[in-house]
């Protein structure tokens, strides 16, 4: 039997750019983003998939990029926090986070933004409970979540993410 491949070339579209890279088979998607592509906006806050700081949008779904291998993303279309603004103009959700003081240290913020962006894409006017459910996989240690929920509500009122 042939030895399993130790690396593989993958092709992914991230924030509108196409990347083809050879990656070690064991490399996590989060490390591929952060270390290989320098997309350091996506963060790591735990070893176990609990904290959600590494949340990205993968083919339109909010996923934790520490729970996937980079090779599993082959062929996928990904958006990270770096892809949310339009030529430097903050998205409505990003602006709402600032307006409501929904971030302090800013470490969980990229993951929060991605979870909430995916939510508002699927459900443009979520209830407070739906927002809480959508964000339950994202830990924030600074804000207590109240202002984050308010930010998502504010963005929804303004017409979406």
């Amino acid at each position: 039997m042939a030895e399993p491949a130790k690396s593989r070339t993958i092709s992914v579209e991230i924030n509108g750019d196409r990347y083809e890279r050879e990656v070690p088979a064991r490399r996590l998607l989060i490390h591929f983003l952060r270390d290989d592509l320098q997309l350091t906006g996506t963060h790591i806050g735990c070893d176990t998939g609990n904290c959600g700081a590494c949340t990205i949008s993968l083919d339109g779904e909010a996923v934790k990029s520490c729970m996937l291998l980079a090779v599993q993303a082959d062929g996928a279309t990904i958006t990270t926090v770096e892809g949310l603004d339009s030529n430097g103009k903050l998205s409505a959700l990003q602006q709402a986070f600032s307006d409501t003081h929904a971030l302090q240290c800013g470490f969980c913020t990229p993951g929060m933004l991605m979870s909430a962006t995916v939510l508002l894409g699927e459900n443009p006017s979520p209830s407070e409970e739906e927002i809480r459910v959508a964000l339950q996989g994202n830990i924030c240690r600074c804000t207590g979540y109240w202002n984050i929920i308010e930010a998502v509500q504010l963005a929804a009122k303004g017409g979406g993410a």
Binding site: V81, Q104, F107, Q136, R141, C142, W146
Partner: protein
């Protein structure tokens, strides 16, 4: 969420015209953080860098018999290792704050000779990739000879108990008796004496989401290290690391940028940073270290666990509290990384919010085979304030007083401010009854009877509780001399530099290391008001840099002080710069400096719109067009050190002012308990904060919310639980449950402002919150269970199963309390 603002009833006469100070201007930090462009420690990379992974002890207490790194070093891509033997040769043990016997603790960057807690770093390996470094750590062979362990602090001083640090001859790190007033007279005068045998404040910490990390480079030519890290108190780290590495502090450049939360937990990373330094030098390459979540939980900065024994409270028949005495037993864990400072820092708030004048605490701190403790939001005062709030609620329950009325009866009165406490601390300002009334109004206390009946109709027990706390800020470091008279630390300082550059840019540098507190924004607000421009025109450099930004000995971000020390320094420097700008403009216009006003980005002669120099012209003149002046023009560059006026407290009587400001937080909550299961929910929550004059109310409210969330987490879910062998049972976010979005109750916030008469801007340090939520939840549980056998809440951490136990056997906790009445 509801927010209530009330205007101050009294106000220190502000001399500064405030256009931006006091406004919730949007944060300057937000844009980069929202775009994923913040730079956190793990984001920084260097060519050829090696990744560090620590090999950690699986035992809580064991002798290290042998270490063999041969197999690890054989692997391709492994750059090197570091062991305790090397560390012991190349460094001196870290300086100890403790006097006898803790002074003898030998603490190094890696375990030397033996390990004292599970998770202690024993060997460091460095490899080409993160993955390889972790893999290769499995190839390091360490032989241990396990030793008996001590996990329960109450057993630490038994003669049978093994010693952690043989050099100390005991597991006691420090002890001291504190006594103020006349205890005998107070107990003689008392109509009731309430005795509580044992109370326990649980072990947890704030678990910032970003883990400790550093990128460390060594310059062989100059012998200087650069550490890009997220250490939140670089001044302290440098003092610890310099002597250990046998270098002057100028060889240690510590740089911080964005920090993903700290809460005190990122103060004591100096052992790991020292290991990084040794490796960068040994391997002659940059090294990168980022902690794993499990490593943080196992080894970093647990909050002080504390027992209170033989609590006795002297109470008059009308509910007047005369005083109390008890023994406090603090569990420092295995090493003294910031300890035993916790042994004195609690005394910043000795009487809590109350007027009792007679207090005695026999304080003992011991070492156990658990992770070392270090500052954690509310550090050491939270434990003590929990004690005072527990005393109030237990006394009220046992003697039949209303918890609100007994608080109001005993609160220090607003007209007594500034108030000198029995141990000589000076509470600067505050209005506790008014803050409590506002909290009661926010939570709808009037309707409590109806709500109780409604809950009952649904088969639930309703409980109401209050937690009233102080956030003491701006330490007088001379309090360390009460722990160790040999120490030379005293006072406090922070520094700022404000300059006007050639193109008219206003640039501020600070010694602080913020972790989300919005220093760039609030510093810009202060500067803008003083020199007459918009905060948008002010650039505040991100973070600490001990080579290129100004800094002082106590520089850092810790202990609720930025609004006083940091902004005091910013104000001082901006005032000086404003004077220089007026002077320069007066030299240009040939008028007196007092004729010049600074407004709208210009220095101009008041009443003469033609005679106006834009900031750019001022900057250009000094920096690039300075010929023709008869005398030197001012440099447009001002550095100011803010130094609060403190004296050294008396060591015999332990009397003196330990902190400059005292912010108030009153929390109130309503809970509903299911009597069948012990499950409970917080159904309503209100917080009132009084931190004096607020520079940016939204930032203040944000920190109030954060402190509330931490307290709720600690009250219900968060605990560092150990088994009998010293294994941590909650080493990750599966087992250590921090609050999630679904866990948070509805919240109402309110604010009053009692400006501090002692600070340049009337501000007070804030943000720690004194654990008020823990106290409020404990009180609410005890209130709810009044109807179910009246158990007493004796622990700060009350998960559902503990409430269930209280419901099953209320007598077990009732046996903990006795009342003796005359």
């Amino acid at each position: 969420m509801t927010s209530v603002e009330t205007t101050p009833e009294t106000s220190a006469a502000p001399t500064l015209e405030r256009e931006f100070i006091g406004q919730s201007v949007p944060r300057k930090e937000d844009r980069r953080l929202l775009q994923g462009q913040g730079v956190f420690a793990d984001d920084i990379k260097r060519w050829g860098m090696g990744y560090i992974h620590f090999v950690r002890s699986p035992h809580a207490h064991a002798k290290i018999v042998s270490i063999d790194v041969t197999k690890a070093l054989e692997l391709k891509g492994v750059y090197g290792t570091l062991t305790g033997d090397e560390v012991a040769i190349q460094t001196d043990p870290f300086f100890q704050i403790a006097s006898e016997p803790g002074a003898h603790v030998q603490d190094y960057a890696l375990a030397v000779g033996k390990v004292r807690y599970a998770g202690e770093p024993v060997v460091a390996v460095v490899a080409e990739t993160r993955e390889l470094a972790r893999d290769v750590s499995e190839l390091v062979e360490v032989e241990y000879e396990p030793l008996p362990v001590v996990v329960d602090a109450r057993l630490a001083l038994d003669p049978e108990t093994p010693l952690l640090h043989e050099e100390c001859g005991t597991n006691r790190s420090w002890s001291g008796d504190y006594e103020w007033g006349d205890l005998d007279a107070a107990f003689a005068e008392a109509d009731h004496v309430v005795r509580i045998k044992e109370l326990h404040f649980d072990r947890f910490n704030s678990t910032p989401l970003e883990l400790n990390a550093a990128l460390v480079e060594y310059n062989r030519g100059t012998g200087q290290w650069t550490m890009h890290s997220n250490n939140q108190f670089p001044g302290f780290a440098a003092i610890m690391m310099g002597p250990a590495l046998r270098v002057g502090l100028d060889k240690l450049r510590i740089v911080t940028q964005d920090i993903g939360g700290g809460f005190g937990n990122k103060i004591t990373s100096h052992p790991q940073l020292t290991a990084c330094c040794l490796l960068a030098r040994k391997l002659n390459r940059p090294v990168q270290w980022t902690e794993w979540r499990t490593e943080f939980h196992q080894s970093m900065s647990h909050g002080n666990e504390r027992w209170f024994h033989d609590v006795e409270v002297a109470v008059k028949s009308d509910g007047t509290l005369l005083g109390f005495r008890c023994k406090a037993l603090d569990d420092a864990g295995a090493y003294l990384r910031y300890e035993p400072l916790g042994g004195v820092i609690w005394s910043q708030v000795t009487p809590g919010l109350y007027r009792w004048r007679n207090i005695r605490i026999e304080f003992t701190q011991v070492m156990t085979n658990k992770a070392p403790v270090s500052p954690n939001r509310g550090y050491s005062r939270m434990q003590h304030l929990w004690l005072t709030e527990r005393i109030i609620d237990i006394v009220a329950a046992e003697l039949g007083f209303d918890p609100i009325e007994i608080r109001k009866l005993n609160y220090i009165k607003p007209e007594q401010m500034p108030y000198e406490t029995p141990n000589g601390c000076v509470y600067d300002s505050g209005d506790y009854p008014r803050a409590l009334d506002l909290a009661l109004e926010l939570i709808g206390h009037d309707a409590l009877v109806e709500r109780r009946a409604d809950a009952e109709s649904r088969g639930l027990l309703l409980g109401f509780g209050v937690g009233s706390t102080l956030d003491s800020g701006t330490n007088n470091f001379a309090q360390s001399q009460l722990i160790n008279p040999e120490l030379q630390f005293s006072g406090n300082n922070e520094v700022a530099m404000v300059k006007l550059d050639i193109l008219g840019e206003v640039v501020v540098t600070l010694g602080t290391a913020p972790q989300g507190q919005g220093h760039e924004t609030t510093a810009a607000q202060v500067v803008a008001d003083i020199i007459g421009c918009s905060p948008d025109d002010v650039t505040v450099r991100v973070g600490h840099d001990s080579y290129w930004n100004t800094h002082a000995g106590f520089s850092g971000t810790y202990a609720s002080q930025f609004a006083v020390t940091g902004l005091g320094a910013v104000k001082g420097a901006a005032d000086e710069l404003a004077g220089q700008m007026q002077k320069l403009a007066s030299m240009v216009f040939g008028c007196g400096p007092d004729d010049i006003e600074l407004a709208e980005g210009h220095a101009r002669i008041a009443g003469n719109p033609e005679a106006a120099l834009p900031f750019m012209a001022l900057g250009a003149i000094v920096n690039a067009g300075n010929a023709g002046f008869a005398e030197d023009p001012p440099p447009l560059n001002a550095r100011y050190v803010f130094r609060p006026a403190f004296d050294v407290p008396d060591q015999e009587t332990k009397f003196g002012n330990l902190t400059l400001t005292y912010a108030t937080q009153i929390h109130a909550c309503v809970i509903e308990v299911d009597p069948e299961t012990g499950y409970y929910e917080i159904v309503d929550y209100a917080v009132v904060d009084d931190c004096g004059s607020r520079v940016n109310p939204k930032i203040v409210e944000g920190q109030v919310m954060g402190a509330t969330a931490h307290a709720i987490g600690a009250a219900i879910w968060e605990t560092f639980a150990y088994d009998e062998e010293g294994n941590l049972l909650t080493p990750n976010f599966y087992d250590y449950h921090v609050p999630h979005a679904l866990d948070m109750p509805p919240l109402k916030t309110g604010a009053i402002e009692s400006p501090s008469p002692f600070t340049p801007l009337g501000t007070k340090g804030m943000g720690e919150g004194g654990g008020a939520g823990i106290h409020a939840v404990c009180a609410a549980i005890q209130d709810a269970l009044r109807q179910a056998g009246k158990p007493i809440v004796c622990d700060s951490h009350n998960p559902y199963h503990r409430v269930w136990s209280m419901l099953q056997d209320p007598g077990a906790t009732r046996a903990n309390v006795e009342v003796h009445s005359k």
